[in-house]
Amino acid sequence: MAMTLFDKLWEDHLVAQLDDGNSLIAIDRILLHERTGAIALYGLKSKNRSVVLPKHVFCTIDHIVDTMPGRPNKARMPGGEVFIQALRDSARSAGVTLFDVDDPNQGIVHVIAPELGIALPGLSVICPDSHTCTLGALGTLTWGVGSTEAEHALATGTLRIKKPRTMKVCFDGELVPGVVAKDMMLHLIAEYSASGGSGYAVEFSGDAVSSLSMSGRMTLCNMAVEFGASTGLIGVDDRTIEYVAKRPFGVRTELQSAATNYWLQLRSGSDATFDATIRICASDIRPMVTWGTSPEHAIPLGTSVPGKKKRDQVDRDTSIDKAMNYMGVQSAKNISDFTINGAFIGSCTNGRLEDLRKAAVVLKGKRVAPGVKAICVPGSTQTKIAAESEGLDKVFLDAGFEWRESGCALCFYAGEKGFAEGDRIVSSTNRNFEGRQGPGVRTHLASPETVAASAIAGHIVSYTSGQED
């Protein structure tokens, strides 16, 4: 019987089936950042253990590094320098690669890993960060893990894990113009809940997925964790092979053809059986935005905040009321009627070059509405350099956006001066949790195109309706 992509990757990394029902899976690359990585390296050292494959471990400083232009060598979080210094010290001591703040390879871990060829099809990659599933877009076997599990992988080159079930999420047909990868994921999560993928390795497939750029595919897989999935992944095709070619940490020339041959079989067989299947008609999807405090609180732009019929079946829970209260939105009111004070473009979800290009198309020759604080933070230093070489920085700056150094930045608040309590932000990030972008800050998730259009309009509008305005 034909195998699924996940089963193929699993089988090729299976070291041992353990008596207790877990499996021992070989890990090919380990990525670390200052927020959760240093503590893993410290933990290892405290137990007098060393890193088993130090060449396969890469560290970067992305989470709490300052992103202001010409950034000083400090954290955006008061006192956060201890995390940066701890990673420097522990990376040096462990003999692993570190892309420091001033390194041209620095950037958000999930942006630089594909960019530099650290993540490749057919590899297994873990990182103590929940968005590691981003890398599944390359046909990579990935898991976000805790620091303790990362410690285990550093020491043994393996992960102890119970095999998840497999799910296929098939986006059939074509997307309507103006609908992008971010909208696909918000649509999926709104329909099937933030735990709809729980227990599954989710493969995204279908014509609408094959048609996506690699950047769009990474956006899909990035938000697999917001769907509750164990991980996300996409089969390898010519676009994948082309994308991963000639990356600095990629495959050596003499091994390229062997690698390509291996990679080309990294697709689910046409009659492979999944434990669950969800089919979505791509043309049903509209540009989406969240109204509440979970990614599942998403609705098509221009529609109204849902009322009681969309509420949870069981009368157990005031989650919806609390979300509405926190967000300052009311049932039956059109989401486009809410005035915004902030716009953020960046993050591992939508901070890649293509995202900046698409936002720049919307912003070109326009100005953000009065009273809107707009910020763009490229996902990596390489992304920033490439964007500047195309003049995108000027487009953002002329439109009234701040143009910053790369990092995770205001995807989450770490204690710096950012958005203010009660501010309403439309954001290209992945989490609209209470307080995620600052105490009392209200986050509406959307695509970079929607963020750009909304920044200009001063309220939440889609790129296409923004044009009509």
């Binding site: 041992a16 353990l18 893990v145 805790g146």
Partner: protein, 206 residues
Amino acid sequence: MTPISTVVGTAVCLLRDNIDTDTIIPSREIKVVSKTGLGPSLFAAWRYLDSEKREPNPEFILNSQKYHDARILIAGENFGCGSSREHAVWALKDYGFDAVIAPSFGRIFYENCVYNGLLPVVLELQAVLGIVKQIETPGISPEVRIDLLRQHVIGPDGIEHAFEISEANKEMLSSGLDHIAVTEKYIDAIDAFREKDREKRPWAYL
């Protein structure tokens, strides 16, 4: 890690769905490279009226006298979703929780619980609601008993509710063993795998 067999104590309910790890411990609260001392930061945004003076919010359930010695947290669907930060588990442990009961959990959070001796109990929603109803009834002692080895939860009414947990996770929690040491028993299998794999996927090695 201290081995767990049973957890008995006061249970407190935070019955919201999708309580994320940012809510369990906001990033701004994580100030030192350490696994300890995070208890005061637990649920900081809900628990205090303001982040500076930390005046307790009287409306937040953990601040009520009835639950001052809570050891078991009962929550809604998808508890611990979001960020992988293990600090969420360290904060719950440091505060004094030994177990969390919920209909479902975020995957990484659940695994972090297992590696840190915080007992995660997946209990079906109806059972959770039944226990919550009893606990919140005035005059009833909010005591819950969880037996890991026999895999059941007993609420104040004495009724047993069975729960599922994998053998591996049960073993990890009940033995308190160091997981790296456990895996090191397989060192020969790992070495043999790598040797074969270097031939099969030479491009995967740097």
